[in-house]
């Protein structure tokens, strides 16, 4: 087990370094002079401020040295300074993280509950109408653009019925965004649960459990689901990343002041250090969570080789 964890860390470290390199290179790939692009119309004619920003960002140094400086500050938790607000990037990220984290968790939670429920209904009523209905709901959830679904939910529940607020920071204002996000992410979970259960249902030990005279509920919950859900756990890490990225759109729809909305504003404002910082942060969070999920997966499934 220790060996397995160690190996995951050994894979993770170079991946994180590569991510930082790719994110750092972003700015080099910008067509034209990034400094002039960043300053925009504020001070096009001002050669001094251009030179100052160029030095601040280290653009006067060779590429490898620039990356080295970037990397060493990164290790010390320094993600650079925002050009617009002139505040440290990490501090700004940490400020907006709770809202995004809250939404991600709520969305993931809803997606897991709905996805497993739909998957179980599908498998238990295989090829009958509840199955078709569950499969259809899963398909709709995956296909309907979340930004539009969010707006339509606002229209129905906030504008017409007046049940829920459109924006705000209360728990009530979390319902619609989490619902929108969860419905979108539930589809693949439902499909995995369904196919996993259908696979498990054919196994001999299920027949044994039934012939022992166990109640159907016990067979379903204790014997089938336990094994069918193991592959579902593996895709949770991936789902987490997609939901985290999905919050970017959802925060824009519901005007939630989180990391995603902040990233969009930074992109529009051409605040590249901020854009780089947020993208790096999200990617790093995603791969770290994914590794944790894999380790957990190995821990709950004794059939996995740790070697």
């Amino acid at each position: 087990m220790y060996k397995f964890v160690l190996r995951r860390i050994l894979i993770l470290a170079p991946l994180l370094i590569m991510i930082s390199f790719l994110v750092f290179s972003m700015i080099q790939l910008v067509p034209g002079d990034p400094v002039i692009l960043m300053l925009g119309e504020y001070s096009v004619a001002n050669a001094e401020s251009i030179q100052a920003l160029r030095e601040q960002l280290g653009f006067d140094k060779p590429f490898y040295l620039q990356y080295w400086n970037y990397f060493t500050s990164l290790v010390q938790g320094d993600l650079g300074m925002s050009i617009r607000s002139k505040k440290p990037v990490l501090e700004q990220i940490v400020q907006r993280l709770p809202s995004t984290f809250e939404l991600t968790l709520a969305g993931l939670g809803f997606a897991v509950v709905l996805g497993i429920f739909l998957g179980v209904v599908s498998a238990l009523y295989h090829n009958r109408w509840p199955d078709r209905m569950a499969v259809t709901i899963a398909l709709l959830g995956m296909s309907i653009p979340s930004f539009w679904l969010g707006l339509m939910l606002i229209l129905i529940f906030s504008v017409y019925l007046r049940w829920l607020p459109v924006t705000g920071t209360s728990l009530k204002s979390l319902v619609l965004p989490a619902l929108t996000l969860g419905l979108w992410a539930a589809g693949p979970i439902a499909r995995f649960t369904r196919s996993g259960l259908l696979e498990v249902m054919r196994q001999d030990y299920i027949r044994t459990a039934r012939s022992k005279g166990l109640r159907e509920r016990t067979v379903v919950w204790h014997h089938m689901l336990r094994n069918a859900l193991i592959p579902v756990v593996t895709i949770l890490g991936i789902r987490f990343g997609q939901i985290l990225a999905g919050t970017i759109i959802i925060e824009a729809v519901f005007a939630r002041p989180g990391l995603g909305l902040y990233l969009l504003n930074a992109i529009v404002a051409k605040d590249f250090p901020l854009v780089q910082g947020i993208i790096l942060f999200v990617a790093a969070a995603y791969v770290i969570v994914n590794s944790l999920v894999e380790v957990t997966y190995a821990a709950i499934d004794p059939r996995i080789e740790y070697g």
């Binding site: 991946l15 590569m18 991510i19 790719l22 994110v23 972003m26 790939l29 910008v30 067509p31 398909l139 709709l140 995956m142 296909s143 309907i144 653009p145 979340s146 930004f147 539009w148 707006l151 339509m152 606002i154 229209l155 504008v159 991936i238 990343g241 997609q242 985290l244 990225a245 999905g246 970017i248 759109i249 824009a252 729809v253 990233l263 969009l264 992109i267 529009v268 854009v275 993208i279 999200v282 990617a283 995603y286 791969v287």
Partner: protein, 295 residues
């Protein structure tokens, strides 16, 4: 029914073996929903192509006296905040969205398949580097990679096609890589190699035909995924720019008047949803038809 069993011949004609299509036909009949989706998509594509003839109004013509008019016999989907006919704009939008879907899916397919074939065939250092590069791209989940690329290239519908296209490359590479590895296990590939078959011939004759089925399925599904992502990017203002009648951009513009003119957002969004649903249904049907292993 066996593949090679000769059919009873008529009038002295030589008996023909049952063709591939003959075998597929009964299966095709079972895919009624998929067929319906395909017909719907053809209608959407045709109306997009024929938009100049079909659209009742100019999609860009501003009519200041007729803003935010609700749906009526004259304007089926109402008019927007500057008096443009929403129905005409939705029809023109089909053109944009389908083109975006196709072009970016082709970008992902071409790059992804080539990288997948190469990495599967040359398992050594080349394969390793390609697969690690794909892992790196996959570290940017969902729409984040496309977002990063658009923030580098700048906001335009062309850049969105490139960004969305690149961000789906790893999916294709991984699937093709896996297929190549399993195809290579077959004796006939080994035999061809022993007979001196060169790499190019090997790809063309033995490996590519075998990975074609999953690629066709993925390509179809990717068109839908690309339309989904591209409209999301346009919604947040990083894709198609006004006054383009792009569906995502139209939904975005409508949200500011959502409570008194729902039709501005509702209809273009419905168009995206229906097209993506149809593509996903079609993709699933194709998967059932072409790839019985993953049913």
């Amino acid at each position: 029914m066996s593949l090679t069993q000769p059919q009873p011949s008529r009038g002295g004609e030589p008996a023909r073996p049952v063709g591939r299509w003959r075998l597929l036909l009964p299966q095709l009949r079972r895919q009624r929903v998929g067929l319906g989706a395909a017909i719907f998509l053809l209608v959407v594509a045709a109306s997009g192509i024929l938009a100049p003839q079909l659209a009742p109004y100019d999609p860009l013509r501003i009519d200041a006296r007729n803003t935010l008019a609700p749906p009526s016999g004259e304007h089926w989907f109402g008019t927007d905040d500057v008096g443009r006919d929403v129905f005409s704009r939705v029809i023109w939008g089909a053109r944009i969205s389908l083109r975006v879907g196709f072009v970016s899916a082709i970008i992902s397919t071409v790059i992804g398949v080539v990288l997948g074939l190469v990495s599967g065939y040359y398992e050594g250092a080349v394969g390793f580097v390609i697969l690690r590069a794909m892992d790196l791209l996959l570290a940017f989940p969902g729409i984040l990679l496309a977002l990063a690329i658009v923030s580098i290239l700048g906001s335009s519908i062309e850049n969105v096609m490139i960004a969305v296209g690149i961000s789906a490359v790893p999916t294709f590479t991984r699937v093709v890589h896996g297929s190549v590895l399993s195809v290579k296990q077959n004796d006939y590939v080994e035999g061809a190699r022993a007979l001196g078959c060169r790499a190019v011939g090997m790809f063309r004759r033995h490996i590519f035909p075998n990975v074609l089925a999953p690629v066709i399925v993925l390509f179809t599904l990717q068109i839908g995924a690309a339309i989904f992502s591209a409209s999301s990017l346009s919604f947040i203002g990083l894709g198609a720019q006004p006054p383009s009648p792009e569906w995502g951009a139209m939904v975005s513009r409508g949200r500011y008047v959502l409570s008194n003119a729902f039709w501005m957002s509702a209809f273009p969004g419905l168009a995206i949803a229906l097209v993506v649903i149809a593509i996903n249904v079609l993709g699933d049907s194709l998967r059932d038809l072409l790839d019985p292993r993953i049913r």
